[in-house]
Amino acid sequence: MDIDFFSAGFLSALLAIVLIDLVLAGDNALIIGLVARNLPKESQNKVIFWGTFGAIAIRAFMAIIVVYILAVPGFMLVGGLALVWIARKLLTPEGGNEESHLAKPATTFAGAVRTIVIADAVMGVDNVLAIGGAAHGSVLLIVLGLAISVPIIVWGSKLVIKLVDRYPSVILLGGAVLAWTAYTMIIREPFLAAWFEAHPATKLVVAVLIFSISLAPWYSERLSPQLKPLVVLLPALLLWMLAFEVAASAWKVQVDYLLATTEGEYILEGLRWIGWVPLAALFLWVREQFLLRNRRAARDTR
C-alpha cells in the first residue's frame, strides 16, 4: 500500500487498527495482577514495568511478522477466514466473569515477566492477525496504530472500559470492521484475485456471506423464534450459490442459463436455483423434530 499521509486511506487503516486494538485488547492489568500477587512488594513494581514493556515489544514484533506472513500466498485467505470467526466470537454474548487460565501466580521475577509476556502473546494472536490484515502490508501503519492504542490500553484501560460500557455499539462497530477487514483480505488473496476479477459478482456474495456469518450473534438476537433458522439458511444458501460458481470454473461446466445449450447444462442450472429448496426443507424438518423432542424431554422431567 502506498503511504500517503493524512489521505482517507491512511487514516481509515489507522482508525481500523486502533478500533481493532481496543475491542480485541487483552486484560493486561488483570494478568499482571494475578501473576505478581505472590511476589514481594518491592518486586511487584519491577514486574509491572518489565511485564508491560515485554508485552508491548512482543505485540509489535508479532504484528510486524504477521505482515510478512500474510504476503505468502494462501495466508491472506486463512487469515480472512480466521477473522470471520474472531468477529463472531467478539459479538457472542459472554456468560460470566472468567479468569484467565494463562496467568498462574509466579514466585520469581523472571518467571513472572515470562508468564506475562507469554500470556499476552497467546491472547494477542487474534489481535495481531486483525491489525496485520487492516494494515494492508504497511509496517509503519502497524507501528503507528500500536503507538496510539497500546498506551490507551495499558494506562487508560479504565477509560476504554467506561467508553464501551457507555457505548456498547463500539463493540458492534468493531465486529463490522473485523468482517470488512476479513472481506478485503479474502478478495486480496493472490490465489483468488484472478478468479474474483473473472467473476466479479461473486465478490458481493462473499461480502454478504462474511457479514451474515460474522454478525450472526447480533441479528439472531433480533429475530423471532420462527425466523431463527435464517441464521443457518442464509449463509448456507450463499455457500450453495458460490459452490456452483467454483464448480463451473473447476470443471469447466456452464451454469449460466443464458449461455446453456445442452440438456445437462439446463438441469445443472435448475439444480442451482431450485436444488437447495428440498435441503432447506429437510433442515427445517430435522430442526423441528429436535425442538419437539427437547420440549417433550423437558416436559417428562417435570
Binding site: 486511506g9 493486561n28 454474548p93 459472554e94 472468567e98 478478495i187 454478504v208 438476537e221
Partner: protein
C-alpha cells in the same frame, strides 16, 4: 480475558446496545455491503451498454459504483448520514401517521389490527 469483558454491558453488546447506536452500525454495515456491490459490478458493462444503460439507470448504480473505492472513514460518514436520515424520517413520519398496533392475540376483534 478481553479488556471489554470487564464491563457486563460491553460483554453483552448485542443485547445492551442502544437503538440509535444499533441503527448507526447497521447503516455502516449497509454501506459496506453497498461498497462490495460496487466492487462486484463489472465496469465494462457501461462500455457495452453505454447510453441505454445510463438513461434507464436510476442513478443508484452510479452511486454504488463510486462507493467501490471508499475507505472506512467514508463508510463511517456515509453510515452516520444514512442513520440520521432514517431517524429524521421516523420522527417526521411518526408525527403525521399513527403506527398500527396489533390487537391482543386472545382479543375478540375480527380484524387483528387496532387503529
Amino acid at each position: 480475558m478481553r479488556l471489554i469483558h470487564r464491563s457486563p454491558r460491553a460483554a453483552n453488546a448485542v443485547r445492551t446496545v442502544s437503538p440509535s447506536g444499533e441503527l448507526f452500525v447497521a447503516s455502516v454495515v449497509m454501506c459496506m455491503i453497498l461498497a462490495a456491490f460496487g466492487d462486484a459490478v463489472d465496469p465494462t458493462v457501461f462500455g457495452e451498454l453505454g447510453l441505454e444503460y445510463a438513461i434507464f439507470d436510476l442513478g443508484g448504480e452510479f452511486s454504488v459504483l463510486a462507493m467501490r473505492h471508499w475507505d472506512l472513514l467514508q463508510l463511517l460518514l456515509a453510515g452516520s448520514v444514512l442513520a440520521t436520515g432514517i431517524m429524521v424520517l421516523r420522527i417526521v413520519v411518526g408525527a403525521f401517521y399513527q403506527p398500527l398496533e396489533p390487537a391482543p392475540p386472545q382479543g375478540v376483534e375480527k380484524v387483528p389490527i387496532k387503529l
